[in-house]
């Protein structure tokens, strides 16, 4: 019997590879190796609905073990891969056993950047990434009144919103001068700063955290470099992630802060593909792009499965992201880097608006708050290479879908 296709990592992307292999007609074995003890689960609700108590744990699992078995996907939880030999096409597991593979998909994900601070090891200090993290945070949250969040990015702020909604005293400490600086334009940072403060969250910008304070092994606060101290029974750090590319790098697969892949999810090694948070994509112009999103996990997973079967299915859709904080849903389409102007559609006061980001007359990205229809239309416009003029975008009376209804331009850049 020939060797199976082995997938290392049973998150959203690894699962997608497995299922796409089946739906694309692979009849051989599929081995899905997961480090965690549980089946693949939806990660986004962890910092949102699940932590807020709006979903029970069983609802997080993407597929039941029975559904995986029905698709003849051999899912093995609690499996850690220790080494990879790409010349011999074998994997060595942590228990010393060896596996041959016909094709290999690396979907090893990312891990939280550790807090580089004294006191980071104290009880009551958490990162938020896995189901297990979230279970422990939920317990700790129930047992305390004061919470400090280190890092004002998506994860930290989503958690802050959940904690504030439960009536906790929440302090967010952000090193940069504005919130979510890596992901959103200044106008949105300002909007979210006001939103969190309106919900009673204390937000401190431009602060550097010096230490987590504790007694008898338990955290009870945080001290900043300027000497200020904030009380906390629970400290959650959301200061970014690191791609899990060590296994690939040790095997000689090209990495550059992530496993290097092309748009079709192919790595530098034959019969080895990679997808999701562990990857960095080399674009056609030679630049590198790292996306940490469900969309990338799913789309790259589909591309990876196709590539293992000798087909090209590039991930070409415009990136999209979302974040839920309080009653505000942020949906982002495209990437705003390189924009030279932005126009506002809708009303900031009414918490229903979108920012259209342009370079010249070309639409690059649209950030929508509580305007899901604008978001969905924007994704379609960006994928089709269409844009309303900035004046049309700013005019709430202008029907955006007419942009999609007009014939395609004769040429596109």
């Amino acid at each position: 019997m020939s060797a199976p296709i082995v997938i290392v990592g049973a998150g959203q992307s690894g699962l997608q590879v497995a299922e796409s292999l089946r739906s694309e007609g692979w009849e051989g074995g599929i081995l899905l190796l997961g480090e965690e003890a549980v089946p693949p689960y939806h990660r986004p609700p962890l910092s949102k609905a699940y932590l807020a108590g709006k979903a029970e744990e069983a609802q997080l699992f993407i597929r039941s073990p029975e559904a995986l078995a029905k698709k003849r996907i051999d899912f093995r939880p609690g499996s850690r891969v220790a080494a990879l030999d790409i010349a011999r096409q074998t994997l060595t597991l942590a228990d010393g056993s060896q596996l041959d593979y016909e094709g290999l998909a690396l979907a090893t994900g990312a891990r939280n950047r550790a807090l580089p601070l004294p006191g980071a090891e104290l009880d009551g200090v958490f990162g938020l990434r896995t189901l297990d993290d979230t279970r422990r945070i939920a317990d700790a949250l129930a047992a305390t009144e004061a919470v400090v969040v280190i890092g004002g990015g998506f994860i930290g702020l989503e958690f802050a919103a959940v904690a504030a909604a439960q009536g906790k005293r929440v302090t967010v400490l952000e090193a940069a001068e504005r919130l979510m600086a890596r992901a959103v334009p200044p106008a949105l940072s300002d909007f979210y700063l006001a939103l969190h403060r309106a919900h009673g969250v204390r937000v401190e910008l431009g602060v550097s955290v010096a230490a987590v304070l504790g007694e008898q092994g338990r955290a009870h606060g945080v001290r900043c470099a300027d000497g200020r101290e904030f009380e906390a029974g629970l400290v959650v750090a959301g200061i970014g992630v690191l791609p899990n590319d060590e296994l690939a790098a040790a095997a000689g697969i090209a990495c550059d802060r992530g496993i290097l892949v092309d748009a079709c999810s192919r790595t530098s090694a034959p019969n080895v593909v990679a997808s999701g948070d562990c990857t960095v994509t080399r674009l056609e112009d030679g630049s590198l792009r790292r996306l940490e999103s469900v969309q990338a996990a799913v789309e790259q997973g589909k591309s990876a499965a196709a590539a293992l079967l000798g087909r090209e299915r590039p991930f070409s859709a415009r990136p999209w992201f979302w974040s839920d904080q309080y009653e505000v849903k942020l949906q982002m389409a495209g990437l705003a880097a390189g924009a030279d102007r932005s126009v506002l559609r809708g009303s900031q006061e009414a918490h229903a608006f979108s920012l259209f980001h342009y370079r010249g007359e070309q639409l690059l990205a649209v950030d929508s708050l509580n305007q899901p229809q604008v978001h969905m239309l924007s994704r379609r416009m960006l994928d089709a290479g269409r844009s309303p003029t900035p004046a049309q975008a700013a005019d709430s009376g202008f029907e955006l879908n007419t942009v999609l209804a007009t014939p395609a331009p004769a040429t596109s850049s």
Binding site: E19, S23, H42, R43, P44, P45, K48, A49, A55, A58, Q59, L60, F61, I62, R63, S64, E66, A67, L68, K70, K71, V294, Q295, V298, W320, W322, D324, K329, Q331, N370, Q371, P372, Q373, M376, L377, R380
Partner: protein, 107 residues
């Protein structure tokens, strides 16, 4: 448990017992029903759990909230009067036996 019959894009039928309180999306995803993507995991953020609900059953379900209605305006497959996002419809005893049809494309 609420028995829901999902009709997959190729016409295949799956009768699934969905726990009360779960969404129709979760019931389909958990059991690997074809034609359901649900990229966002139930946040009403992606419109990839589009489904058509039994016409007779529509009256038994609370109408779509503004957010869902807006997302439905831009689903990839044909929008019908019976279109809903499955992540926003909870299984209740009243829905026992209904048909939920999945479109050929979600994204």
């Amino acid at each position: 448990m609420v028995m829901i019959t999902y009709v997959e894009p190729n016409g295949g039928r799956q009768e699934i017992d969905v726990p009360e309180g779960w969404s129709l999306m979760q019931g389909a995803m958990s059991n690997g029903v074809d034609g359901m993507e649900a990229e966002c995991g139930g946040s009403c953020a992606c419109a990839t759990c589009h489904c058509y609900i039994d016409e007779a059953a529509l009256a038994l379900i609370p109408p779509a909230a503004d957010n869902e209605a807006a997302m439905l305006e831009n689903v990839v497959a044909e929008r019908r009067p019976t279109s809903r996002l499955a992540c926003q419809v909870k299984a209740t005893a009243a829905l026992e036996g209904i048909l939920v049809e999945l479109p050929a494309a979600q994204s």
